[in-house]
């Protein structure tokens, strides 16, 4: 698990809310810091990969899928680059 500075919990939220909320959280994060986004939306794995291709000043460091109470969690690590 990569190091991170802040966590955003978007469990239950469906497309496009994880992206919209991450955008807001990233813009409030200091440059260079890492945001951990925890989602239950399976589509968010591909969504964040596509998101960072266009979104400016943000990079996707890692993604992982973890099990929690029999539920799949999709965890994304985003760094604000500028």
């Amino acid at each position: 698990m990569p190091q991170f500075d802040q966590t955003l919990d978007v469990k239950g939220a469906k497309c496009p809310m994880p992206l919209v909320k991450s955008r807001k959280a990233i813009s409030e994060l200091p440059v260079g810091k890492v945001l951990q986004v925890i989602s239950t939306d399976r589509g968010s794995l591909a969504d964040f990969q596509g998101w960072v291709k266009t979104a400016k000043n943000v990079e996707l460091i890692a993604q992982e899928t973890v099990q929690e109470n029999g539920q799949e969690l999709y965890v994304h690590y985003l760094r604000r680059t500028a």
Binding site: G12, K14, R23, W51, A55
Partner: protein, 191 residues
């Protein structure tokens, strides 16, 4: 076989060629992609709930990616940005249109399987059950993200829709308003 003399000439020509190409690259970098911006422009022509949902999801998603988003509401699509029905001050035909058309986003029907509004209610129920943001929430989110919303004034007048029937704070414009944004956009959609 090349002599050392011609080799020197070749190098000279090559260097000149490289210098010329460097200049052209610099010129292109000054105006990347000939004025294409990180921008999405869409026409919302349909007054169907399912298509409005798609339009607002794409708009909010694009805005979250840092694209400048413009939505141009025309013809039946204007129903998606109405807030109420007003009958006073309209002629009979306009009153007929007002009666027949949805009075707000909440009254839009599906493009298929609508069954006089039952289908739309079922889809809304399913969206709620699956924690998908409601059409109204998506609309509010789009506005919060600074999505530009323009209502086509020509079709608004044609359908007899009054300004007080529309949601506050929308812009009015025409085809050139849309094309002004679309001509610079990376993505254009007609929904």
């Amino acid at each position: 076989m090349t002599t050392p003399m011609t080799e020197a000439v070749d190098t000279q020509a090559l260097l000149a060629r490289i210098a010329e190409l460097e200049q052209r690259v610099a010129a292109l970098e000054q105006s990347p992609a000939q004025g294409i911006e990180d921008r999405l422009a869409m026409v919302v022509f349909s007054g169907d709930l399912d298509k409005a949902i798609a339009a607002f999801i794409i708009a909010t998603g694009a805005a979250s990616m840092g694209l400048e988003v413009s939505m141009f509401f025309t013809f039946w699509g204007i129903s998606a940005v109405k807030k109420q029905k007003v009958f006073s001050g309209k002629n009979l035909l306009e009153q007929g249109f007002t009666a027949m058309l949805p009075g707000k986003l909440g009254e839009l029907g599906l493009s298929q399987m609508n069954f006089f509004g039952a289908g739309a209610r079922i889809i809304r129920g399913l969206m709620k059950k699956h924690d998908v943001a409601s059409p109204e929430e998506l609309f509010a989110m789009a506005r919060e993200l600074g999505v530009r919303m323009v209502v086509c004034d020509m079709s608004r007048e044609l359908l007899g829709i009054k300004d007080e029937e529309l949601v506050e704070g929308l812009e009015t414009g025409g085809v050139a308003t849309f094309l002004g944004d679309a001509a610079r956009a990376k993505v254009t959609l007609f929904i």
